[in-house]
Amino acid sequence: MPADPSPDPSEYPRESDPTVPPYFHPNVKATRLRAPKRPLISLTHTLSESTGPIFGDTAVAEHEHDLTKQHQGEPVGQRIILYGRVRDSDGRGIPNALLEIWQANSAGRYVHKWDPYDAPLDPNFSGVGRCLTDDQGHYSFVTIKPGPYPFGNHYNAWRPAHIHFSVFGTSFVTRLITQMYFPDDPLLSQDPIFNAIPDEAARRRAICEFDLDATVADWANAYRFDIVLRGPRATPMET
């Protein structure tokens, strides 16, 4: 696949803009010893930044996009369709983007040995999904709406319901790791992680939308979460 050797670096919004969290945030305890203290060094993009791994169809197996069908029985909780489109900053859909999600079950418990919360595990829910976007950048998962859970940031701190997303677009610098939240969650206002995003409009872009039109009668509610990766598409793919 041809790579553009000279993308215009000025096209990429830098990570210092108010749409992304700073490394250090006083309300997020875990940043205190982990945020670098020296200024970042500006780097003009080279081939090293404008290229990135490409994942083929073999990267994803059949039931990986449906988190409700990975076990013998159905998981407990509210079944939802979670879908959207992955685009670049020019609005073009990004095909073959690898999306990986992980989440707590409907009780707010992760299948992870470090999760200290005593909410029940669900034998029918692992909470991990993967899919590739189609030719136009569209993706779709079926899952269970996760529950909120307490965490150790401060006294009585709770994480709002959220789903973790990992997205590989077309270059190593546009690769996105984020968390998607649900609309009208009363826990959003007290969550230091969500509120570490400085800009209010940017915080809204981390929240999915309820989509009545995409619900399926007698089966599932639907939420839409569109994702925009930084910068233009580094690898031209139009024919």
Binding site: T46, S89, D90, E100, A201, R205
Partner: protein, 186 residues
């Protein structure tokens, strides 16, 4: 930068402590078989500002192959080499990759960049990726001409150079303090 015609990006959020459920699967830190003739072991430790190990860390690498071609460039020299790897740090903050040493890759405006591996560091308490590069101590001449490395203050450059010893390279990542790893704004 703030072009009104551009769609604003989805904001990053921390990868959190539980990413191992989905990311860093078994084998993802091995880019070539151990018996590959060009295999090198790159290892080190991720430590925080108190000198403690970061056990909830995810290190991702992206690199060219031995011939200096990225895997998605036309006619890659080695079709099987994916150039991407990922590693969950261990309880003691250590990580390791088995890969091949990259060749020099083109620099913007002509010439080459010194052989290097691109890193992204994520983890609990890291709110967006930290980006850095690994250079190699046995490439002193190329390192002296590398435009990115030369953009780092002289006294900090050595922190980006892995100590190469035969088929092994050591590279520690330090988030704060005297030996804070230089991180890049990309």
């Amino acid at each position: 930068m703030a072009n009104p015609d551009k769609l604003p990006p989805t904001p990053a959020q921390t990868v959190g402590p539980y990413f191992g459920m989905a990311l860093t699967p078994e084998g993802s830190s091995r880019l070539v078989p151990e018996d590959h003739p060009d295999a090198i072991l790159i290892s080190g430790t991720l430590t925080d500002g108190a000198g403690g190990p970061v056990k909830e860390g995810m290190i991702e690498i992206w690199q060219a192959g031995a011939h200096g071609m990225y895997p998605n460039q036309p006619s890659p020299a080695d079709d099987a080499f994916i150039g991407f790897g990922t590693c969950h740090t261990a309880d003691d903050g250590s990580y390791e990759f088995i890969t091949m040493k990259p060749g020099p890759v083109p620099a913007p405006g002509g010439g080459n960049q010194a052989p290097h591996i691109n890193l992204a560091v994520n983890g609990l308490g890291i709110l967006k990726p930290l980006r850095t590069r690994i250079y190699f101590s046995d490439e002193a001449e190329a390192n002296a001409k590398d435009p990115v490395l030369q953009g780092v203050e002289e006294e900090r450059r050595a922190l980006l150079v892995a100590r190469v010893d035969g088929q092994k390279a050591m590279f520690d990542i330090t988030l704060q303090g005297e030996r804070e790893t230089p991180f890049f704004k990309v």
